[in-house]
């Protein structure tokens, strides 16, 4: 833009600014204007992130119950933390969470990477298939949850029908959601169906970042496809794979929506992951103080684990 045009643009902006605003802005320093612009964000952040966090920390030391707002609130110190960490039910929930996180990540990473590897071959119509594969990820978890609840329905559900079609089992002889044995896997299956495309997408970005000439050099160096995969493809895509694992790990540690819609923790408490326990304590039993303490324990756990993991990730990246 030349000077004349610039001047006239500034002029136009200046004349378009209402006089009272212009007068106020004129009196402010650059720093003050900067604050003015970021203050809405900061206020929102304080109101919906920082303030609840601080309040939760405070509540976790009390016997406060949200359904009895007028009852006397007593400070009970770290009693909640003690009882949570010694409660076998809580550990059962943590175990259910760990099981869920481990298997979803393992399966999704292997499948996601394999899919990415195939799509990266750039066969005919690979763009179309990439889009098709990505569809589950674009759906709302609420939709996916309800939809799979119907599929899993033992009498009318399509899932049981398809299994019986291929294996010859009686479709009403097993219940994905109702059985203690199958329910955890039912959730793993749905989460995998929904989120493998996401892992694939990140892995695909990793594979695409490997320059073609490295493969050409390896080809000339007489490295087999197998060796190329292990010495070039995998090590160079590893930071991306680890990133996908991090994202999926954090997400699934907090997993609530799918489980809530599919099993709501049942049958019994076989699929009661940590967030479901939290919901029950907070909004069914109304033990607000107790659940606040539990939320903080979960937060610290995931934050700590993620931090350790990010350190490892950075080490891999800097290689």
């Amino acid at each position: 833009m030349n000077d004349v045009a610039k001047a006239s643009f500034i002029e136009r902006a200046a004349t378009a600014t209402p006089a009272p605003v212009a007068r106020v802005v004129k009196g402010l320093s650059d720093r003050a204007i900067a604050w003015l612009f970021i203050s809405p964000t900061i206020i929102l952040l304080l109101a919906i992130n920082i303030f609840p966090l601080v309040w939760t920390i405070q509540l976790s030391f009390t016997n406060y119950r949200a359904n009895r707002p007028n009852a006397e609130v007593k400070n009970i110190g770290i009693d909640h933390f003690q009882s949570i960490l010694t409660d076998p039910d809580v550990w059962a929930a943590m175990q259910a969470t760990a099981h869920f996180v481990f298997w979803t990540i393992l399966i999704q990473t292997i499948l996601g990477f394999a899919l990415a590897y195939l799509v990266d071959r750039r066969f005919r119509g690979h763009g179309f298939w990439t889009t098709v594969i990505l569809i589950p990820m674009m759906l709302s978890p609420a939709v996916v949850g309800n939809f799979w609840a119907f599929l899993y329905q033992p009498q009318i559900g399509l899932f049981n029908y398809v299994i019986s079609f291929f294996t010859g089992l009686d479709p009403s002889s097993f219940e994905m959601i109702g059985s203690v044995k199958l329910a955890p896997w039912a959730i793993v299956l749905v989460d995998t169906w929904m989120w493998t495309p996401y892992v694939m997408l990140i892995c695909l970005a990793g594979l695409r970042s490997i320059p073609e000439y490295i493969y050409e050099a390896a080809e000339v160096d007489r490295a087999s496809k197998w060796r190329q995969f292990w010495t070039i493809t995998l090590p160079m895509a590893l930071p991306f794979i680890m990133l996908a694992v991090l994202f999926r790990g954090i997400e699934n540690f907090k997993m609530f929506d799918l489980v809530n819609l599919l099993t709501n923790g049942g049958p019994g408490s076989t699929t009661e992951v940590a967030s479901i326990t939290l919901k029950r304590e907070a909004f069914e039993k109304w033990r607000t103080g107790y659940s606040s303490a539990f939320a903080i324990i979960l937060f610290v756990t995931v934050f700590g684990l993620a931090n350790i993991y990010v350190k490892a990730l950075n080490k891999v990246k800097s290689r």
Partner: protein, 336 residues
């Protein structure tokens, strides 16, 4: 080592004829330099020999074997890419050892180490063997890439502007080094460059490419002194050969169809002469030599002179042409 033969090889990318009916015979132990500007098809030719591209027509022979339709691996060539195509997560040592560890070779680790250290010494990167490939400077990376090619004993070395990213001093050093290695190993090398110094100093023979066609193949001396057309004539020589209209030097005896006269800057003799046709317009002092720009009837002629020559801007001079080359209307060379 082996000879390489290209028979009528063609390759097009879309509507671009990258290589067009190319014939080339590189004898065993020859250092062939393919010279040409960007887009002349040099790199494509190399990639066709390596098997990284499949020709649309023609045949490729390496060591007497027809390899036109084979993949790169069985051709057993080594390739130095223009980009440093190092394996970024491996150390310098492992990068150099990579081709030796190919399952087809089965070398004991002791021998691999000896070869790697030998090559590293040759390229002055012994102290970098433990580094990661990404922790090197551009020049060091390219030396590792060259080393990775030299560490093996392939049928033919293919090098795509391997020295272009090195600084001038290292480049001069590597030129000598590469030529020495080539002689010692008796290696067949196909070498791509647009740098005429590299071509002149290293080549057994130079192949000049123009838009996918091999215009002339010959010893550096042949190419320099006996170019087949104006295109080849301008490829070599610094400053570039003078190409002037025939009318400028009417007194020179030339074939009838001559349109352009070419004369190398060092072959123009110049003398102060008040009746001369030229006037000194500009003088470039290069220390060991001077480039004089002389205007003759609105045309600039560059003349290489001794720095002792005491001529000044504005001096009127007479020019005399030694070893003139004559070119016709199409740029083709005309001979007496």
């Amino acid at each position: 080592m082996a000879e390489v033969r290209l028979e009528g090889v063609s390759k097009r990318f879309g509507s671009v004829e990258a290589v067009d009916d190319l014939h080339l015979d590189a004898r065993d132990g020859e250092f062939i330099v393919l010279l040409g500007p960007t887009g002349a098809g040099k790199t494509t030719t190399l990639r066709l020999v390596a098997g990284l591209e499949k020709p649309d027509a023609g045949r490729v022979h390496i060591g007497g074997r027809d390899v036109t339709h084979t993949t790169p691996a069985p051709r057993d060539v080594s390739f130095v890419f223009q980009q440093y195509s190092l394996y970024p997560h491996l150390s310098v040592y492992d990068n150099l050892a990579f081709p030796l560890r190919a399952p087809a070779r089965r070398l004991p680790e002791r021998e691999i180490e000896t070869r790697v250290r030998e090559i590293a010494g040759l390229l002055h990167i012994e102290d970098k063997l433990g580094n990661r490939a990404t922790q090197l400077s551009g020049g060091q990376m390219q030396r590792v890439a060259i080393g990775r090619a030299l560490v093996r004993k392939p049928t033919v070395y293919l090098m795509d502007e391997p020295l272009s990213s090195l600084d001038a001093k290292l480049r001069a050093e590597m030129r000598v080094e590469l030529k020495r290695i080539q002689r010692e190993l008796g290696a067949t090398i196909l070498y791509v460059t647009h740098d005429q110094t590299e071509a002149m100093t290293m080549a057994s023979r130079i192949g000049v490419l123009d838009r996918g066609r091999l215009v002339q193949v010959g010893s550096p001396r042949d190419i320099y002194e006996d170019p087949v057309n104006t295109y080849v004539a301008t490829r070599l020589g610094s400053p570039t050969i003078n190409l002037v209209p025939r009318s400028l030097f009417a007194e020179v005896a030339a074939p009838a169809a001559t349109v352009t006269i070419g004369v190398r800057t060092e072959h123009v003799r110049i003398r102060r002469n008040p009746n001369g046709a030229g006037r000194v317009k500009r003088i470039e002092h290069l220390g060991d030599q001077n480039h004089l720009h002389v205007t003759v009837m609105d045309t600039d002629v560059v003349v290489l002179t001794d720095p002792e020559e005491r001529l000044a801007v504005g001096d009127v001079v007479g020019l005399e042409l030694g070893k003139p080359l004559f070119f016709g209307a199409d740029g083709g060379r005309l001979r007496h």
